[in-house]
Amino acid sequence: MSQTPTTPAQTPEAAAAPPPGPVPGGQRARQGHRRLLTRRDRITLGLMAGVPTVLHVLLVWVTALASIALAFTSWDGIGFDSIKWVGLDNFKHLFENNPQFWPAVQHNLIWFAVLIAVPTPLGLFLAVQLDKKIRFSRVYQTAFFLPVVISMACIGFVWQLVYNPDTGLINSLIGANKPGHYIDWIGDPDLNLWAVLIAASWRHTGYMMILYLAGLKGVDPSLREASSLDGANEWQTFKNVIFPTLRPTNTVVLVVTIIEALRAFDLVYVFNKGAQGTELLSILVTNNIIGESSRIGYGSAIAVVLLVISLVVIIPYLVATFRKERRS
């Protein structure tokens, strides 16, 4: 997904549930496998797992740990000997003196709240409507899903055409495109976060719709029948029968949405580089790299805050998923 997902969007929970019917007694069979392995086989296996693991661990996990270590240092990035241990100074400075930090945290929270409150139920609603085996279902589906396929950067450009103060669609329609009467959707710090969030929600809805559509396809049709035989109306069936069976999908949706909210970056960067009013943690980290101020320790401290927040979500989710895995 970053992808966000979203690149963004790429989370394995979609596959959380293994396909049904793992062979019973597979455990024994696999142990049998092991005994048959020759020395060469063992070396082959070692390489097959080893090469990808080294690459992944080195570029993802070692760097994540390095972020933690660097967060307690100050470094100009030029020579290793300029790395100095500063303890909690970076964090102290971040929490107390950085005027952008708390707004960024707040914006990330708002981002999540909006995504879960607007596009998620809307996506669910659309999925329920499209699941009714109606005609043109594919056409509607495609229309809602199209934004998910397009890059966030491109979406940023498209929405700028809508929000532009003098040439944009909204201001042209409401006549606010004359100098002096501008509504500056992207420049006004009270408005811009909401303007970006509309674009983000626009994209997120289609994503949620697809996840829910897949979830709905898995609902046992006999449940529906039973419920209509009992005389339940559409809303009652949904509320009491369908929605409860969507629990696994809801978990996926929740995790995807939190991660998307933490990863949010491209759209804001294309809009206004996270200036005034649209600060995000991801933007603050990036500014420390792209900008001229190479304050590595400080940037890492922000990354650590982002890491801690993500782990609060990732760990319980993985524990639950993998517990299920082990059972199968």
Partner: protein
């Protein structure tokens, strides 16, 4: 639904409600496409016309000029080429490496299997910004004289390929290991008893059975990697080396002073992913939801 009184007994599903639903869905779908349609409309009009008459006005002249100009002025072909040079190897290597890991964890019960899969899966869930600062330094420090044009991992296609592979293999390993676990064990068992090597079990028996999952993942990965903005933004510094998405961001500030031209440029960058999506829709959607319907 209320209309059941109108249509007696027959199984015909409530007509008026259906019509209402279609009206609603068609209206919403159109509204959904509005920003994109607006971009297309703007891109089709010359700047001179919109600056005289305003953007919301009846078009007098519609042409593809903006598209051809954007394509030529910004040398888009070159940037599309850069993207291709990054995305094709990245997708192939990711699938190759992650399928090996998946094979390892799903077909054998070594003690650390679950932990290994956990490492991959969790890595993919991290926000990219968590690792970018040390990664950027690492790329700057890695000297590769003669291997890349920049002489470093930084500012090279190779560097982008590596991080895409490392990052995305987490997701793919997880999906593929679930998929492989659903394959009957007897297949590989029999081959192993017959003396087939582990490599053969992987390459000739397991992989061909994974084609549907691999196709779904390949579609998904191509679109994600093509759409990547962040890695390229930070890890590439020379404009010439940028892939198309970050190049457009760069160029729109430098050369384009005309929103219609930017619209055309942005739409052009979206075309390849739209084509992939329309051609491989089924694979794409099944990749996104792989397994989630079976929960």
């Amino acid at each position: 639904m209320s209309a059941s009184t109108v249509a007696p007994v027959r199984r015909t599903p409530v007509r008026p409600a259906r019509i209402l639903l279609h009206v609603f869905l068609a209206g919403t779908a159109l509204a959904w496409l509005a920003p994109l349609l607006w971009a297309v409309f703007s891109a089709l009009r010359p700047y001179s016309e919109t600056s005289d008459r305003g953007y919301v006005s009846w078009p007098h002249k519609l042409s593809l000029d903006n598209f051809t100009n954007a394509f030529q002025q910004s040398d888009m072909l070159h940037y599309f080429g850069n993207t291709l040079l990054i995305a094709v190897p990245a997708v192939l290597i990711t699938l190759f490496l992650s399928s090996m890991v998946a094979f390892y964890v799903s077909r054998f019960d070594f003690r650390l299997n679950l932990a290994l899969l956990l490492v991959f899966t969790a890595g993919n869930l991290l926000p990219q910004q968590v690792i970018i600062t040390p990664l950027y330094r690492l790329y700057l420090l890695t000297d590769l004289p003669g291997v890349t044009e920049s002489g470093k991992l930084y500012d090279s296609a190779l560097g982008l390929v590596l991080i895409h592979v490392a990052f995305q293999s987490g997701f793919c390993a997880f999906v593929l290991s679930n998929y492989m676990r659903s394959l009957p064990h007897e297949l590989t068992e029999a081959a192993l008893v017959d003396g087939a090597s582990v490599w053969r079990l992987y390459w000739q028996i397991t992989l061909p059975l994974c084609k549907p999952a691999m196709a779904a993942l390949a579609t998904l990965l191509s679109i994600w990697i093509y759409n990547d903005f962040f890695w390229a933004l930070v890890l590439i510094s020379t404009g010439e080396n940028m892939p198309i998405t970050s190049a457009l961001n760069n160029l729109s500030g430098q050369y384009f002073t005309d929103p219609n031209l930017v619209a055309a440029g942005a739409l052009l960058t979206a075309i390849p992913t739209l084509v992939v999506y329309f051609v491989l829709q089924r694979q794409f959607v099944s990749g996104l939801t792989l397994g989630s319907s079976k929960g």
